[in-house]
Amino acid sequence: MFDLISRFAPPWLASALTGIWFALLIWAIFFASMAQDVDFRYWRM
């Protein structure tokens, strides 16, 4: 993501935006994990 953003923004801004993006994703994972049972259903074959 940093590589993508740094094409359009200076490195300090790309670092900050990448950090915010990762923090949002990690928050979404924790939020979704709290909301339901975590399960991967298709892995045994």
């Binding site: 990690i26 979704a32 991967f40 892995w43 074959m45």
Partner: protein, 384 residues
Amino acid sequence: VILKGTTDIAFLSWMVASVAAYWATPARLRTETVILTTAIFLALADPISLGVFVTMTAVVFVACRSGNATIIGATVTIIATLFAFKAIDPNRGVLGDGNHIIPLGLSFFTLRCVHVLIERYLQTIQPPNPRQLVGYLFFLPTIIAGPVHRYPAFISQDKPSLDWSRVSNGLERILYGYVKIIVVSNYLLSSQLFPKLKPNFVESSAGFQYLDCLDFGLNLYFQFSGYSDIAIGFALLLNKKVMENFDLPLLRTNLVDFWRSWHMSSTSWFREYVFTTVYAFSRRRSLSTIATMLAIGLWHGLTLNFIAWGLYHGIGIVASQLWGAMVFRGQRLNGTASFLLGLAGWFVTFNYVIVGFAWTKERNIASALRVFRILLRGVGLSDV
């Protein structure tokens, strides 16, 4: 049960412990460390799986140092072992009795073993030494559900030094994998979207059955591609680059491109070893395509449903190729016509794939056919 799924805390802990153990070990012993963590993981998660894998590895090792007849015998034995386990699995075989579940990762392990045997038969690889072979086959990131990475590419990338760009890319891929599985599939699709949409239709309506196929297909895609992201990221943390598995398959505009971008590591395996072999003997493209898709169906499960699913896609690919040859005839279309044909191609391909999941999500052929009858009635083909 130590392992509920790839997203549970046990697997995450194993991932962290394996990476820590890998980098804490001197460079010359890192392959052995991965082998050991993989073996311990299998021993705890599924001891039968460990026993089967050790036996298969021994068979491959001995065969690779013997003549072609032994290699052929070993290949047949390994494929027969997979089919025997599939046959008695309640979800994957015709003889399933509810008591025997296929060993963890066996389908993928089989493809890797057969790959090594065939490449040795073709003499494109040297007889593997035990460290290389076991290191390739007992690689924790890919052992559960792929990708089906290849031996020559795997053993040629022994870099002892820490590559921070790989670590960074690996962590990012793992994060995206968890987002796909936990946020998109488990939460947005399974807990929010489909539980709200489905109750608006009765079970025997085309709307419900279409949503059920969509539910299954989208979940399968996000879970499986999410798992692949985790496996690829995990491999990067162990300093290995393995094959990609998905490349936006649900956006493809024809069935051939769909299968080139869906579960790529296994479909390329079948293309290299099944399609090429059948085509070499028959010289008939359509027959080779259908045989390949039938083999893919059988690899997924030894049931009539998986056979029907394989044939469904084989026939679909042949029809797609005939349509392409008939319409385009080697000509290039202009912008608007190309865009509209692409859009129509995507619509047909997406729905063909999604509806095709009725073969695999239903428990038997009669039930799958019922779904198709309801869907056809929904689009006005009531007499079919």
